[in-house]
Symmetry: C2
Subunit: 96 residues, 2 copies
């Protein structure tokens, strides 16, 4: 299933900047960055559980915001992209 993760991490503090790097790295471990704070992750149910837990372990819920959108398995027709930053299709072909 295609999971979209978006985040706003408060980077006003040194610890915030550290959280931002960690969250981004976790997202890169599970998927691809399509915009600065938007990631697309093609995951099964158990991967989603570990992904979510890893993210929640890092963020400060009193300062940061994370949204997870589940597009399901039939996601290609649910995603539109305009402008910069072409997304390499998860299964390898390049979406131009």
């Amino acid at each position: 299933m295609m999971i979209i993760l978006t985040y706003d991490v408060n980077t006003e503090s040194v610890s915030g900047k550290k959280r931002l790097r960690k969250v981004a790295q976790i997202c890169l471990n599970y998927g691809i960055r399509v915009q600065n704070s938007v990631f697309e992750c093609n995951l099964d149910a158990s991967q989603l559980v570990t992904f979510r837990a890893a993210i929640l372990d890092v963020i400060d819920e009193s300062k940061d915001s994370v949204r997870i959108y589940n597009l399901g398995n039939e996601y290609k027709k649910k995603v539109e992209h305009y402008g910069m930053k072409v997304t390499p299709d998860q299964e390898g072909s390049l979406i131009l």
Copy 2:
């Protein structure tokens, strides 16, 4: 249907800053901001057409990036939120 719009607008120039304000305002006309550059818009098919056209009329596709994700009508179970910025449920109740 619930439409998620995310954007990265290049604000290195004055015109970029202007595009950012315009894109954000259009999104606010059609939905609610849930993160800095993430909006949730509950739209019918014709509203989506005009919304998309209005956004594409503003952005510079050589500099900016817009992604539109369509969660369909049964979207509530497809959206998870953790941390700051509570989203008022589109139908009025507050999601705590």
